[in-house]
Symmetry: C2
Subunit: 302 residues, 2 copies
């Protein structure tokens, strides 16, 4: 039985009879192949990437596992349609907080049609894509006070400036009620466990960055970083094995516009990734500073 994914935060969403991805209860994610060759292009990328021996193993794990294509009943009721079959990257999480961040200072690329170029660059300039080299596309957080998910409004997310993006990245790792953040600043209670630490987001982003500094295989145009962490487990933790409690995870998704690198690094993705990394580092630094300030009076015996 296929159903609409509960934790999708961006892209086409299969609800109200529209075409979108589906999931099964075995941890598989079914993404419909779009008619305009983009789907086919994405399938080709997965075929190439999955078998590409030039991609190191530690990099393969940042991509959803690909299981080929399959004809399944489309979510819009139009009958059987070819779908990409992927591992559902949030399957196995109880209450995942998820954020989709589109990386790069442009979503268009050389040799696109004028129509596509104009559509992309308009949105790139209206969002933080040009100014920050990335844009938040959507996110949801498990709200502990309400014991339910809070979802950022798409319209607001796409209207972020630099401060808005920064606030969203703080909110994403906070335990105080996300709906109240206009009056209460996000407390970043989970920042050091989710962004920091030996298995945190930052370490994973830095590993990706290292690869992007030399890889000339692919250009990941209009591709997103999907960050996930297990929110509930952080609150319920205890004992010695806290380290992986947050299960912070970075995955790259959306490859409908990937091109051959042709011997040139993906400077567009790399530049944006470095900018994004700086935002994450800044949050970790601000939390470290706060912790120092809070503990120093005790250490001084006051």
């Amino acid at each position: 039985m296929l159903k609409v994914p509960e934790h999708q935060v961006a892209g086409h969403i299969a609800s109200d009879g529209k075409l979108g991805p589906l999931v099964d209860d075995q941890g598989r994610f079914f993404k419909p192949l779009q008619g305009d060759s983009r789907g086919e292009h994405e399938a080709k990328f997965y075929e190439s990437f999955t078998s590409n021996k030039m991609v190191p193993d530690h990099i393969h794990r940042y991509f959803p596992v690909y299981h080929g294509t399959q004809l399944v009943e489309a979510s819009d009721g139009s009958g059987k349609l070819l779908h990409l079959v992927l591992d559902d990257v949030v399957s196995g999480y109880s209450n995942p907080s998820v954020m989709d961040v589109k990386i790069g200072s442009r979503t268009w690329y050389p040799d696109v049609s004028e129509g596509y170029f104009k559509k992309c660059i308009k949105k790139d300039r209206e969002t933080t894509t040009v100014s920050l080299g990335f844009r938040v596309s959507g996110f949801k957080i498990f709200d502990h006070q309400e014991s339910s998910f809070w979802r950022a409004e798409k319209k607001l997310v796409l209207g972020y400036n630099a401060d808005g993006a920064r606030l969203a990245l703080r909110k994403f790792v906070s335990s105080n009620s996300p709906a109240d953040s206009n009056s209460t600043p996000p407390n970043c209670a989970f920042a050091s466990e989710v962004y920091g630490g030996p298995n945190g987001i930052l370490v994973q982003l830095l590993e990706l960055k290292e690869w992007f500094e030399t890889q000339t295989l692919y250009h990941f145009n209009s591709c997103s970083i999907l960050m996930t962490y297990e929110n509930e487990s952080i609150l319920m933790k205890g004992g010695d094995d806290d380290v992986q409690a947050a299960r912070a995870q970075v995955k790259l998704v959306d490859f409908a516009h990937v091109l051959d690198g042709s011997g040139v690094i993906d400077h567009n993705f790399l530049g944006g990734l470095c900018s994004f990394i700086k935002f994450i580092k800044d949050i970790l630094q601000s939390v470290d500073k706060r912790d120092e300030t809070e503990t120093s009076p005790l250490e001084n015996g006051n």
Copy 2:
């Protein structure tokens, strides 16, 4: 006595009564302040940068030293005009080979006028700015066979694709006649001394890269890296002190479009710089491989 600089390879050139930079015989470079506030903007940048204690000393040395502004006779005969007074970065070289590389995958930036945006993005798409994250703006090489300077034609330089840019970067460090490179491939005779080595271009670029990964002070829009080396000294070298013979030098120039970083890294410059670094590394690697192949028969006793 001010005169037209001999070694300028890009930008407005003061010849035939046009407005352009001038040099004196004391190693000073005089750059006229352009009327449309760009010159003033560049002067402001130099004032800010020169006194900015947040910029480390080892980074300051990648920028021309600034000596304020001065009224001097303009090159176009229009009378006295305010000029930036800078150190002439090629003064002291006998036969400098010089290349100007504009860094970044765009030369426009947020909040420019539509006219300026359109002008820039057209040129960015026509050149390698979008595809490579940098474009060669001009270069000259000391031609040993002719004992004179060879200058790349501006029109050809601006028409480079990825292969053209790669060839130019190889040609720039070759000893065979640059004019013949269509028939004779560049030999990259100086690559390991100019691009490689402890004082070479690559080491300097990597130092700049490290700073750009964290600096959020300035965004260097439409700024160039100027590479210079002393060509003659490489041929005339001998003895033990060869290491600095090439006097390979990296300088950043052209700051008429620098903006405040406002807490965000210059991902546009950084991405382009990383791409440029990869090109330089590739050339060094190809030369290393060739050298291995050439020496291995001897080592094997053949």
